[in-house]
Amino acid sequence: MFTHSSFDEIEEEKGDDSFDMHISVSDPEKVGDGMNAYMAYKVSIKTSISLFKSQEFSVKRRFSDFLGLHSKLASKYLHIGYIVPPAPEKSIVGMTKVKVGKEDQSSNEFVEKRRSALERYLMRTVKHPILLKDPDVLQFLESSELPRAVSTQALSSAGLLRMVNKAAEAVNKMTIKMNESDAWFEEKQQHFENLDVQLRKLHASVESLVCHRKELSVNTAQFAKSAAMLGNSEDHTALSRALSQLAEVEEKIDQLHQDQANADFYLFSELLGDYVRLIIAVKGVFDHRIKTWQKWQDSQMLLQKKREAEAKLQFNNKPDKLQQAKDEIKELEGKVEQGERDFEQISKTIRKEVSRFEKERVTDFKAIIIKYLESLVQTQQQLIKYWDAFLPEAKAIS
């Protein structure tokens, strides 16, 4: 078990602008054949943080290693109030295609999507000041050999959601409702409920946008083909040339549409997807707090019962049983104190975590938006080049 006091100092570290650690996940490589095959990814780390033995190093990891890491972190930190970043989703269909050796656009897209997700997952994990120092994280990043992770079912986001829903049911079944003396928690819980709904809407909206962009790319390519055919059948030389140029410009624009669709997807869609899953983890820690409170209450109720029983025994004068009762009470008093400390600690942790979360999301969103705007500007500048080149061709028809 980890003592909580040592964490307090670490938490007050400097701001995250100068977070000096960069992780990239790259070079997906298929290892093995058939259904036992898997993808190995190169995880490269560049950092000047003294925790690490070197400043630049890399290791090879497979998807189940990431899931294993998450599973360990979740089991250690979730129940004491830390928002552990969720692991990327499993996909049986996507992975099977890769295993079977189907090298087509959709399986390449799948690998790229996964690679990007793994990278974001690691960056989010190491940005957490507590998780960064966790020995499992350090081992994951530095160790050349990693024991195979088993039971990686644990705590996929689907699993987490199930757990959260079960906890919510349990709360509703509680005989004594939690007396929320701290309005902050009630407000925040509502806030995250709302945020969940809004993020899902945004995510759906972006997915629709990505879909239409891909459609535009397909339609542009089709139009380019038909323009080329027009150019080929055209007798008038200059017009024929201009139409062929038109076809070429449209093909180039098609490529721009594809790039833009990728930007829409990899920047926004995945960001929003990540945050939808993060919110599930946040809801999880809130529920753990309620569980912790419940445990404390249960201990208190048990103590009360034991005290009543002790009073009865005293009245009936049964010295042996009395001593036993006194011992049990002492133990329970300890449990109640611990329960109260646990509850206070998790409440404190959650407050810090939520604050961290709110700051992080501003930083995250800003960084993504800037990248996105850069891609938008670049696209327009490319278009300007294409139109500038085409104009004289169009004017030359006569």
Partner: protein, 369 residues
């Protein structure tokens, strides 16, 4: 009171370049087009309102000019399909790019139709054109007498005449080329429409995203909340800009190249119809020749007369057709050039404006503490 159309040719009293369809008015299910044209005398402007039926009236009059020699060799400026409020899916498909939006492209196409007719060396002389443009009363909705180009009856005869071998190499080549080209032009116009419609979908999706972002603004004075709200608001402004850009790109597409490809496609069809009429006449001619040959002495002289008349008419038609084909070729190259140049210039301007706007947003975000 309806003016009677005299079968007299006349010169148009308006400046053809000034003819404009200024707007379209919806009255229940009817669309009324307001047409303006400047008097050549410089003394003012004609304002008339016309429905689709009036346009058809004009077209029918022109079709039925049997007294004009070789009229069947004319490539008639194509009239767009009838626009309807709450049109069926079939009509919408037929309209193509002209059916988009609030009929701006459609008005332009109708305007082009009138201008082309007015400027035509044969058709422009028909009095019906003057009446159409200047008469304050609608020209009338009665059915004009049967026109010689009843497509329906020709279609019923079957298009098997379409493949009938020509006697003139020029025309055979032209027919072969037109067959290929009509298909290409139609496909290009349809695919361009697909592009525009997808752009419109993207614009709508951007609007939804922008709205959803504004709903993420959170209440409270918590600085982190305020920061995030600010990010959401600014991002929604970005997507408003993206929406504006895509909408602009789509509008540019429609108003220049879209109209151009649509007109090109319809003109190729019009030429196809003319060539088919001529081919039908050729078949008729060959029949009269056979009849003259096979005729019994008693009928021979009469058959010869019929044959000679058919030959003369066919020659006239071919003569007019050759001129029309040359005229169309020159006109369409000019039209497509104009469309491509305008299209390129408009898209270039839009791209520059958008690059500026996106850059401004980018600087604003970078500057955000």
């Amino acid at each position: 009171m309806m003016e009677e159309v005299k079968e007299v040719t006349s010169t148009l009293s308006v400046d053809i370049q000034s003819i404009k369809v200024t707007e379209v008015v919806k009255d229940g299910d009817t669309l009324t087009f307001l047409i303006e044209s400047e008097k050549l005398s410089g003394t003012g402007v004609y304002h008339v309102d016309r429905t689709y039926d009036d346009f058809e009236w004009l077209q029918q009059h022109l079709f039925s000019q049997e007294e004009v020699s070789g009229i069947q060799g004319v490539i008639f400026p194509p009239l767009p399909v009838k626009a309807q409020v709450n049109a069926s899916a079939k009509v919408i498909k037929q309209l193509g790019i002209l059916g988009l939006g609030e009929w701006q492209a459609y008005c332009k196409a109708m305007e082009t139709f009138v201008r082309q007719i007015a400027a035509h060396s044969i058709l422009g002389k028909n009095n019906a054109v003057e009446i159409f443009l200047t008469s304050s009363d609608p020209p009338g909705r009665q059915r004009v007498r049967k026109n010689i180009f009843n497509r329906l009856s020709q279609a019923m005869e079957g298009m098997r005449k379409e493949g009938h071998k020509d006697v003139d190499e020029f025309f055979q080549t032209e027919r072969d080329h037109n067959l290929v080209f009509t298909g290409c032009a139609k496909t290009a116009a349809e695919r361009f429409l697909d592009v525009v419609q997808t752009e419109q979908k993207i614009a709508v999706a951007c609007g939804h995203f922008s709205t959803a972002l504004r709903l993420c603004v959170e209440q409270g004075e918590d600085p982190d909340k305020l920061d995030f709200s600010k990010v959401c608001v600014k991002l929604s402004e970005v997507f408003d800009s993206i929406q504006k850009n895509v909408t602009s790109v789509a509008e540019n597409n429609v108003s220049t190249l879209g109209l151009g490809l649509d007109l090109e496609s319809r003109y190729q069809e019009a030429e196809k119809e003319m060539l088919y009429r001529r081919t039908c006449k050729l078949v008729e001619l060959e029949t009269t020749r056979r009849n003259a040959e096979k005729a019994k002495p008693v009928k021979k002289a009469a058959m010869e007369e019929v044959k000679k008349a058919a030959e003369t008419e066919f020659d006239h038609i071919s003569g007019v057709a050759k001129e029309e084909i040359a005229r169309l070729q020159a006109a369409r190259v000019k039209m497509l050039q104009q469309a491509l140049v305008q299209w390129c210039e408009k898209q270039l301007l839009t791209a520059k404006e958008s690059a500026d706007q996106f850059n401004q947003h980018l600087q604003a975000f970078r500057g955000m503490a």
